[in-house]
């Protein structure tokens, strides 16, 4: 083994680079940590403190979380978001597999024409208002469908899926056919299991995207707040500064302090809405890495 002589400059660089990487970690991590410490601190001290919290201030208290527990909006949002995520994964997942399968069949004469038909929509689209008018004319506004159907398909996912399916040899389908398998059996029992890694990536993209989405709800749920996803309630609390719904009489002794807890309720709701995704992402990130790779190679 060759001994590499380390230069002084090289060492200095290593030190600074390591420091920079630590700095990056701190920058990325500390805001959420700050929010967490603040949410369990003494509200009066949080209001007057300046700077990042590295530990909770004053006595630990879970009062902010007690208020959030009584706030129906968050839990309605939670329930709706979970529903939207599952439903969107099902709808988009199935449609993407079907589209990818159909568009990769060499025996299907019109596959390229249809691909062009779909791909054109990446280049040009009607825009926000005409799409809104379509949703309105279909009487989808203020229904659960409004958050699911208009975003049900994406050419990007279809291309990824199609590319993965194209990599599977035709002979597998042929032999399944000889054994008497029908089209759907071939698709779901032969083809899909062979590209389940790609399929998992697509489902993850859909799920994370849906968990964090709010714009479709803003557009297509103009009246019905009971169908809002979590992020729309978060927007009311964080951006529109509307925590009025948290000040409901049932909170009892905490009600007098509702104004005092306003900031803490914001922090607490950030934690409550973000913790699930923060717990999941370290385990799924490697799939996202694959997704980014596939997506950028196939463009």
């Amino acid at each position: 083994m060759m001994v590499v002589k380390k230069t002084v400059g090289g060492r200095i660089f290593t030190v600074f680079n390591t420091l920079f990487m630590l700095f990056m970690c701190v920058i990325c991590f500390v805001p959420i940590l700050h929010v967490f410490w603040a949410s369990i601190s003494d509200p009066a001290l949080v209001e007057t403190s300046s700077g990042i919290l590295l530990r909770p201030l004053g006595d630990l208290s879970l009062n902010a979380y007690k208020i959030i527990l009584r706030y129906k909006g968050i839990w309605t949002g939670y329930k709706n978001t979970i529903f939207y995520v599952i439903a969107q994964c099902l709808i988009t997942g199935i449609l993407t597999v079907i589209a990818g399968y159909v568009l990769s069949r060499k025996r299907f004469r019109y596959r390229n024409s249809i691909m062009m038909f779909l791909a054109f929509t990446m280049l040009f689209n009607g825009g926000m208002i005409p799409t809104y008018m379509v949703v309105k004319n279909l009487h989808l506004l203020d229904t659960y469908w409004a958050c699911l159907i208009p975003g049900a398909m994406s050419v990007f996912y279809i291309i990824i899926m199609r590319t993965a399916i194209q990599g599977i040899p035709d002979s597998l389908e042929e032999s399944a056919r000889l054994d008497g398998a029908g089209e759907f059996t071939v698709m779901f029992r032969v083809i899909l299991p062979l590209c389940k890694a790609t399929f998992a990536v697509i489902i993850l993209f859909i799920a994370v995207g849906k968990w964090n989405s709010w714009f479709d709800a803003l557009l297509y749920l103009p009246q019905d707040k009971s169908k809002y996803p979590l992020q729309m309630y978060m927007r009311e609390i964080l951006i529109n500064n509307d925590t009025s719904a948290t000040q409901n009489p049932s909170v009892g002794e905490l009600m007098d302090n509702a104004q005092l807890y306003k900031t803490l309720v914001k922090y607490g709701s950030i934690i409550v809405s973000t913790v699930p995704i923060l717990c999941v992402y370290p385990f799924v990130q490697k799939y996202f890495v694959t997704g980014v790779m596939v997506g950028s190679v196939k463009g």
């Binding site: 990487m21 025996r107 208009p150 398909m153 000889l178 759907f184 890495v289 980014v292």
Partner: protein, 324 residues
């Protein structure tokens, strides 16, 4: 000869393009053979017609004084009046400038940032530490835009962490930075860097891990230091990836993240923050001026498409890599 007669006997429907060799394509025969395929196409095509092509037809609203009660067939046609109103209106220059400035700043800052980060991270030799840094740096990407903007609002309010830092640098009072138009662009761009730098570096790190290690060994033998290795080996080997990513990014430079702007701006900062897509949202869905906002949106998407086609054509010519 033997093969040709054998062909039709082959299991139904394995022939390319759904026909039989030397027999002209017959839709009826093909349909019978591949019935399931045709049926599976129906939901896909119907969805695309309804949610992508029908809205394209809805663009005619841009040429009408559209009244929802009268619909597209009953609304009066006014030619290009909506467009003329927009181009001569008070907001045209402001909207175009804001959209272009935010888009270009985003490109200038947030395109190189992940490359730089990937290059530096690549120099970290401790594998475990590298992995931890990577994982933590992806974190902001997974946090929702609403929460990110909530954090921004909180940190830049009067007395917020960032406001205090800015105040101590400029020597002024801690103020609500988001209410000050001059701070909107830095806040928008730098928060984008914070959110995207780790995740954006994925693709470059992958390219870096594919570099042949023997090149480095050879360079060491030749007496090249780390800096020289970076300049002569690392950077040239990720250049193709960088170029592809740049092309893809150039095409969408005017597609400023309107949802983020919508969350962060306020009438006080419209002067610097209002972009075309947020204007379309306000005019169309808050003032119900459908025809006019469709016209503005159409202008935006035509410029966007033209940009995409131009960058694609340029890249096709010079780098032989293109999106289509």
């Amino acid at each position: 000869m033997k093969q040709e007669t054998a062909q039709p006997k082959k299991v139904i429907g394995y022939i390319e393009n759904g026909g039989i060799k030397a027999v002209p394509h017959n839709l009826a025969v093909d349909f019978r053979r591949n019935k399931a395929i045709y049926f599976m196409c129906i939901p896909i095509i119907v969805w695309y017609i309804i949610f992508c092509y029908w809205p394209m037809a809805g663009i005619v609203m841009a040429f009408q004084r559209f009244a929802p009660a009268k619909g597209i067939w009953g609304s009066p046609w006014i030619g290009f009046d909506n467009f003329t109103n927009f181009f001569t209106g008070p907001y045209f220059v402001r909207l175009l400038r804001n959209t272009a400035v935010l888009g270009i700043l985003d490109l200038l800052v947030n395109f190189p940032a992940p490359i730089l980060f990937a290059l530096l991270l690549n120099e970290v030799k401790a594998a475990k530490f590298k992995k931890v840094v990577q994982t933590i740096s992806y974190m902001p990407y997974f946090i929702s835009m609403v929460v990110i903007c909530g954090l921004i609002v909180d940190f830049t309010k009067s007395g917020g962490v960032i406001s205090n830092v800015v105040a101590s640098i400029t020597g002024g009072e801690s103020q609500n930075l988001l209410g000050n138009p001059n701070y909107f662009r830095p806040i928008f761009i730098l928060s984008g860097t914070w959110q995207g730098v780790g995740y954006g570096s994925i693709i470059y790190l992958a390219a870096l891990s594919g570099v042949d290690q023997e090149l480095y060994e050879a360079a060491v033998v030749d007496g090249a230091g780390r800096w020289k290795q970076t300049i002569h080996i690392t950077i040239p080997s990720i250049l193709p990836t960088v170029i592809i990513m740049l092309i893809m990014r150039m095409g969408s430079v005017l597609q400023v993240a309107s949802d983020k702007v919508l969350l962060l701006y306020s009438p006080a900062t419209y002067e610097k923050a209002d972009v075309i897509s947020t204007y379309v949202y306000r005019v169309g869905l808050q003032n119900y001026d459908y025809g006019y906002s469709t016209a503005v949106g159409l202008f935006n998407s035509i410029v966007g498409t033209a940009l995409l086609l131009t960058t694609n054509a340029i890249s096709k010519k010079y780098s032989e890599t293109s999106l289509f």
